[in-house]
Symmetry: C2
Subunit: 443 residues, 2 copies
């Protein structure tokens, strides 16, 4: 089924066939179709869906479509959709909605659920608490495997995952975990206590979501339990949500490396105001950093006026320093983010960086000296070659060291962005180049 065929059926008002064809599609695809329709039609199509499908599709909709649909829906209709949502999706939705809609929704919930919702809404944005859901399978250690399987069979339709089950005591203290695979393999009369794993990999509600992602990656988990500070089970986080976290963290790092602030929304939906706010601060800071290169040049005004051809090589030299620096900064930032390199490895990496950047500098010096020779003879060839080798070395070392320094001071290494490293390498480049030149020509 394509968006086109949906539009044709909508035009023909053949809603029976539209509904029949829609329900055959995956929920994620139905949501994608609805996202593409205009607000009025999207509500119409959404209302065609059977109740159980509707809630699943709702969870996949874009925030904009969700807002549209809920603003146009009756209170009771909205209540029914929410009833069938998994708890983490419900919380995500409530976080997106304006306060008056949230109020309207909370009016229709029980006292106990309202309390739970408020508790979940209060977990800070980057924590495990904000990602978890409460629809897990909890079992008791006194149960037999057969009893456990019987319980799972009964509650499975309302659980986000049944593939990992949690054994808790009367006070919700997490005592063990069992995969459905363990249960399926075990003999039916065995007690859970005998087969459950007591060595549990878990996180607490306030753990950072990057830490959660790292554990799920390291141990190849499908889900991870979330406990409070007293090790009582409060929720679980599933791998599909972690996949989204990983992408978000990567996007944040990539943006930061280009001196862009954190942007929470899709680029197409980001307003010009938001984009400006996220881009301007660093651009302005860098303007002021770059003043230093101007000051550096002012010192060498005489040399410059004496050999004006020197200036022609300036962009080339400072860019090369910046480019080499960006490369090393990027390599370090990424290795630190993935845990491939630790802060203690800096010295080993420094030694390697020196070797690499000497070779890079030598090759680039050869290239630039040819140009220098053509433009200003042997003297210029020598000065530009010396300058190139030196600025590439210095630029690379700035790029290499800055992420480690930031890390050392508990700052995010990704702040050592390409533009910042480029600007710092430029200042160094200007000073090195003109110092070398005034020394050489002033002899």
């Amino acid at each position: 089924m394509t968006l086109e065929s949906i539009k044709v059926l909508l035009q023909k008002k053949d809603y029976t066939r539209l509904k029949a064809e829609l329900v055959r599609e995956h929920h994620a695809d139905i949501a994608e179709f609805i996202n593409e329709l205009d607000p009025k039609t999207s509500l119409l199509v959404f209302r065609l869906l059977p109740k159980d499908v509707a809630a699943n599709v709702f969870a996949y909709l874009s925030p904009e479509s969700r807002a549209q649909i809920s603003l146009q829906s009756e209170e009771t209709e909205l209540h029914e959709i929410l009833l069938d949502l998994f708890f983490d999706d419900k919380i995500d939705f409530l976080e997106e909605m304006p306060a008056n809609v949230v109020k309207r929704i909370l009016r229709n919930t029980t006292e106990a659920e309202r309390k739970l919702i408020n508790q979940f809404l209060n977990y800070p944005e980057n924590t495990a608490g904000s990602l978890m859901t409460i629809e897990f399978v909890d079992l008791k250690k006194e149960m037999t495997v057969a009893e456990a399987l019987e319980k799972i069979r009964r509650i499975a339709p309302n659980r986000e995952t049944i593939y990992t089950c949690y054994v808790t005591d009367a006070t919700r203290y997490l005592e063990g975990i069992l995969s459905l695979r363990d249960l399926v393999i075990a003999s039916p009369e065995q007690k859970l206590e005998k087969i459950m794993r007591k060595k549990i990999i878990s996180v607490t509600t306030l753990d950072d979501k990057e830490y959660v992602a790292a554990l799920i990656k390291k141990y190849d988990l499908i889900s991870i339990p979330v406990t409070d500070t007293e090790n009582r089970l409060v929720g679980i986080i599933t791998v599909d949500d972690i996949v989204d976290v990983i992408e978000d963290e990567n996007t944040e790092d990539i943006h930061k490396m280009a001196s862009i602030g954190e942007i929470d929304v899709n680029l197409l939906e980001a307003s010009p105001l938001l984009l400006t706010k996220k881009r301007l601060p660093w651009l302005l800071i860098l303007v002021f950093v770059n003043i230093l290169s101007g000051l550096g040049m002012a010192i060498f005004e005489e040399t410059m006026q004496a050999v004006i051809a020197l200036v022609f090589f300036l962009p080339l030299l400072i860019d090369s320093a910046g480019n080499a620096g960006s490369q090393s900064a990027t390599l370090m930032v990424r290795a630190l983010a993935l845990g491939e390199a630790k802060i203690d490895d800096w010295f080993e990496l420094l030694k390697k960086e020196i070797v690499v950047s000497l070779v890079l500098g030598f090759a680039m010096a050869l290239a630039v000296s040819a140009l220098g020779f053509l433009r200003g003879g042997l003297d210029l060839a020598i000065v530009t070659a010396l300058a190139m080798a030196t600025v590439v070395l210095v630029g690379s070392l700035i790029g290499m060291c800055l992420p480690f320094l930031l890390s050392k001071f508990k700052l995010d290494p990704a702040t050592a962005s390409g533009p910042l490293v480029t600007s710092m390498a430029d200042i160094a480049g200007v000073i090195i180049y003109f110092s070398l030149a005034s020394w050489y020509f002033g002899r």
Copy 2:
């Protein structure tokens, strides 16, 4: 248990206790310990592990440790470890090993397995085929739910996942899928044919692994079936392997955005030669691109000599253009990679970029005009402000358009790296700045 306590037990030669404590740890943690030990000790510790644990730990070891252990092991010992490895891990391992080790290993396998291994080794590196494993649960549609569960129970220990099961016919044609959840909920006497899902999300062996990752993300899958061109099931890919693919793809993109070639190994293990090879090509290309800024300046030699103060603002202006350009390029490259923006969205994004970069340029022009005024009075203030607003606009538009152009010509948008965009923005910056200045001062 910590690395320290392992070393203490090793020193005391208390191998019984070491073994007892080790097996209580997660396989991923045991592997991490072994990775940290020197080659001889690591083999000693590895040999302490019970057979079933050893194979699992082996799959988590670093390529270096795996190589160490296999080079030091007897042929029969190695054969036993490999026997217990899942097929995808076995293939990964064989791909890492030198040809003579592979030959030694293949000598100990059956004709049929050797054929299969060779087939898998031949799948190109970036394809679904290179990621898949063959340990899946396959069922027949004539089975009842009870029969299926009985089969799963029997084969579960040797299957990578049992949570999605595949229904195939006698010719291995993929007819339907069933989650273990579906099976657990269904009544035991039901035929699989009645409950299996026939709408299957699958990939073929030669599909790109990025495409596989996109499907797993979109549909929140735990595993995905891989078929040949005739829709016969040949393997499955599980979400834990896809998490690694996502990180690798992100690393590749991040490196590319800093003009670094693809590096397959951990930064600490990368040789200086490899790093040089991956960094030098773009650095050299950019040297030649930057010659153009030098040529641009040569044209304006007179203006420059007349008002030497102009030169002091050059690094600042061209860096600002480059920084703004890097920002927009990064935003576009990431949005294209995530599928947030499509090639058809370019015009909408262009309009937004013009608005944003005008505002950015205006703010930065204000900042630079103050500096210009201090350095060279009103004239210089006006020229630098005009130049800043223009170069930021042009730099941003270069950064914004380049990724779309590359996409349009089926090239990777990430090639529009920070360094490349910076260099292009610099050339534009030099020409714009000095044109404006010679026009203004030449009046």
